[in-house]
Every structure is written in structure tokens, then in C-alpha cells.
Amino acid sequence: MSSPALADVFVRSERMVGRRIAQEYVLVPILGKGADADGIFNLNRIGAFVWEQMDGRADGHAIVARMTQTFEVEAERAARDYLGFVSQLLSIAAVSAALGRGK
């Protein structure tokens, strides 16, 4: 898959279960064997926020707008962080493109 864009809509994968610990999130792979599914992923406060927004309906523009409001961060910086984070989530198959939306 090519690099994510703000127009894309992503949805959380069924291969991952998220558990909240205070303001952070733990992502636990529940399917997959060996290196593909190795490791538990820890999301910080902002990562947890973005993870919870990825419901298969909101695109990157909407999520970035919510990030700027919630964390008082500049839109450009929020967009950069969002896209970098989504790339990481894609690399571990934690999210996928929502059907019929985006790529």
C-alpha cells in the first residue's frame, strides 16, 4: 500500500485488541504467528486518542482537526504526526483502509 494520505479513512483491525491503561493504550495482537505477530504495542496519550478515532468513518482531515483542538497543537504538526503514526499502524496491520472509503 502506498503512503497514507489525509483523505484516507482507516479502521482498526480485528487482529488487534486495544486495552486502555490510564491515558495510554496497549495493542495486543490476537491473530497471527511468529514475527508477524510478535510484540505488544504501547500507544502514548496522543496515539491512544488517534486509535480511538479510527472508526472507519472519520478521514485524516477530521482526525487531525480533533487533534489540534484536543492537544492544542498546530495543524501542520498534527498532520505530520498523524500520517507517521498511521504508517506505523499499517506496518503492523493494526489498521486497514476502510472499505469503500479512501484507498
Partner: protein, 341 residues
């Protein structure tokens, strides 16, 4: 009835744990405590610095991952009609600790009836778990995310020595608690199992956190007479007596003191001598005894020792079958003799 501890641990036990850490590793007591699985408990008691903080956070994350898989596996066993009992760390964490993350653990332990073991293993394979290591009493599985689960067909090795039938354990079992739908051993069976695990399975060489489990059970209303009866029925008076003595030597607490007193005569003399030898440095109890020697002492009596020998030379499998290779028996016999010298 079990009362979940409102406080992580009594202050006197926390002081004892600090003293053990300071004695065992005066330069890095926090690192020692973290390795022994008591970091989160000390942290909750308001102790320690960065290392304990890190171990507490690690335990919290690890617990969440284990809980996800425990719930998933128990649900799958239930859907397949396979009764299961959660053992050791996960069971204790949910039932006897103020928060499960206070009880670090490396894996989940689940017991099924030997006749259902193969079927349970296939259920795990369907959830992408793979066998890593097999032993007489169970097999270790690796799951997604690197989580580990040990699927038991028996509580300990040489299960023939300790007649603990799955159906009896299940009939007496308690609800798992902690919001998870499952079963665990009741408190008295838990003490018997913890004792067998520490003393017989590992020759007393387990982490301090696993001895602290006994202290958490001590906070509950254990029925001493029932415990003595269960230990006797399981052929486990020696391991239970010895484990309770070691717990007292380490932590200064005794779950069910009346039971410990009733069983005191069953502590093997060799275990007493070892405990007396290391008494000035009680943390050395965690080094345990050579396994073969510990098992020989704990078996006690000619019949039990004969069974122990047979079980060692021709070990069983988790599904209740037995391996009969004479060459492997010869190799095991040679190793056993070396260990007993």
C-alpha cells in the same frame, strides 16, 4: 469464602520484602526485587525509585496482554465444551491481589482434564498458538504478541504421586473473578498446588513473588482442617508442610497456621537441615535444592519413591498416556543417579 485483599500487602510483609532485597543484593535491591516479581507490590506500598516504577509499568502492560488472551482462550474452551481451570499467577492475580498487575507473571496456566488435552491443544492452534515446549504435565504454547500459555493435563510432573483428579478439582473450584468468566482452584486446593509447584516441581527454586502468593492467601480465611485433609488426600503432606515452612522462613507468615502446625511433622528432615543452614541469609531459600534430591525427600516412603522413580524414568504425557522408550529411560536413570549423588 475469599476476601480479595483491600491493601496490596500488610506493612510487616512489605518490610520483610525490603529486608530480603537489601540482603540479597545490597547494591541493587530494586533490580533484585523486580527480577523476583515483587516490584509492583513494593511500588504500590510507596517504595522504590525508577527501576520499580519501570517494573510496575511493564507489569501493567503485560497483564493487559495476558488478560486479552486469557479471556479469548477461556471463551474458546467454553465454546468447545472443554472445562478449564485457571492456575497460579493469573488465578491469584484476579482473586487475591488488589489489582492483577501487582502480580507479574510470565505466562498463563490453564488446566484441562487429561482426556480433553489434545482437543484443547487443537483449540489453541485454531487461535494461532503454537507448541514451544512439551513436558509431562503440560506443554508451553506461544501465542500472538509473544504471550505464553502453559496448557496442563496435570498440576505437576509425576502426577501419579499426587492423586488430584480434574473432576474433583473442578467440582470444588471457585469463580475466577476480576470480571473474567472462568474457574480457579478454591483456596485450599490453591495452597496445595502452590506447595507442589514450589517444592516438588521446582525444588523450592521459584521467584519470591510466588512465595508472596502464599502470603496473599494467608490474608483470606483458609480452612486449616480442610487444607490438611486435602493435602493428605493428595498424598502431598510433605510438599505442603515443607512449602509452608519455607514461606514462613522467607516471609514470617504462615497461611492457615493451624494447618502448618498439624503438618509440621511432615517436613522432611533434609529440608529442615537446609533451612537451618541458610537461616542467617533467608533469601538463599530462593536458590532451592537440587531438584532430584528435593523430589526424593518430598516423595518419602518406599512406595512413593518407587513411583517417583518410575515416573522419572517413564514420564507421562499431558493427555495421560505414557512414554515407554527403554533407551530414554536409561539416559534419564543415569542423569538421576548423578543428581542424587
Amino acid at each position: 469464602m475469599t476476601d480479595r485483599a483491600a491493601e496490596p500487602l500488610p506493612a510487616v510483609t512489605v518490610r520483610r520484602l525490603r529486608a530480603l532485597a537489601a540482603g540479597a543484593d545490597p547494591r541493587e535491591p530494586d533490580a533484585w526485587a523486580a527480577r523476583q516479581g515483587i516490584g509492583p507490590l513494593l511500588l504500590a506500598a510507596g517504595e522504590g525509585g525508577a527501576r520499580l516504577l519501570a517494573s510496575g509499568r511493564q507489569a501493567e502492560i503485560a497483564w493487559q496482554a495476558l488478560a486479552v488472551h486469557l479471556e479469548r482462550c477461556l471463551g474458546a474452551f467454553d465454546a468447545a465444551g472443554i472445562p478449564a481451570i485457571v492456575l497460579k499467577g493469573a488465578a491469584l492475580a484476579l482473586s487475591h491481589y488488589a489489582h492483577p498487575a501487582l502480580r507479574p507473571m510470565g505466562d498463563i496456566d490453564v488446566l484441562v482434564a487429561p482426556a480433553r488435552w489434545e482437543e484443547a491443544a487443537r483449540v489453541l492452534a485454531g487461535l494461532d498458538w503454537t507448541v514451544e515446549d512439551a513436558a509431562e504435565h503440560g506443554a508451553a504454547f506461544a501465542g500472538p504478541g509473544g504471550v505464553r500459555l502453559e496448557l496442563h493435563g496435570a498440576l505437576v510432573s509425576c502426577p501419579g504421586l499426587f492423586p488430584l483428579r480434574f473432576d474433583d478439582l473442578l467440582a470444588r473450584s471457585s469463580a475466577l473473578g476480576g470480571g473474567l468468566d472462568g474457574r480457579r482452584l478454591d483456596d485450599e486446593d490453591m495452597v496445595v498446588h502452590l506447595s507442589l509447584h514450589a517444592a516438588f516441581q521446582h525444588g523450592f527454586r521459584v521467584r519470591l513473588g510466588q512465595y508472596v502468593d502464599f502470603a496473599c492467601l494467608a490474608a483470606c480465611t483458609l480452612d486449616g482442617r480442610r487444607l490438611v485433609a486435602r493435602a493428605a488426600a493428595a498424598g502431598a503432606r510433605r510438599p505442603v508442610a515443607a512449602a509452608l515452612a519455607v514461606v514462613h522462613g522467607l516471609l514470617g507468615v504462615t497461611p492457615a497456621p493451624d494447618a502448618a502446625e498439624a503438618l509440621a511433622a511432615h517436613v522432611p528432615p533434609g529440608v529442615r537441615r537446609w533451612m537451618d543452614r541458610v537461616a542467617p541469609e533467608p533469601w538463599r531459600l530462593l536458590d532451592g535444592l537440587p531438584l532430584a534430591r528435593a523430589r526424593w525427600m518430598l516423595a518419602g516412603g518406599a512406595v512413593c519413591r518407587a513411583r517417583l522413580l518410575a515416573g522419572t524414568l517413564w514420564p507421562g504425557r499431558p493427555d495421560g498416556s505414557r512414554e515407554v522408550s527403554p533407551w530414554k529411560a536409561l539416559a534419564r536413570g543415569r542423569r538421576l543417579l548423578q543428581q542424587l549423588r
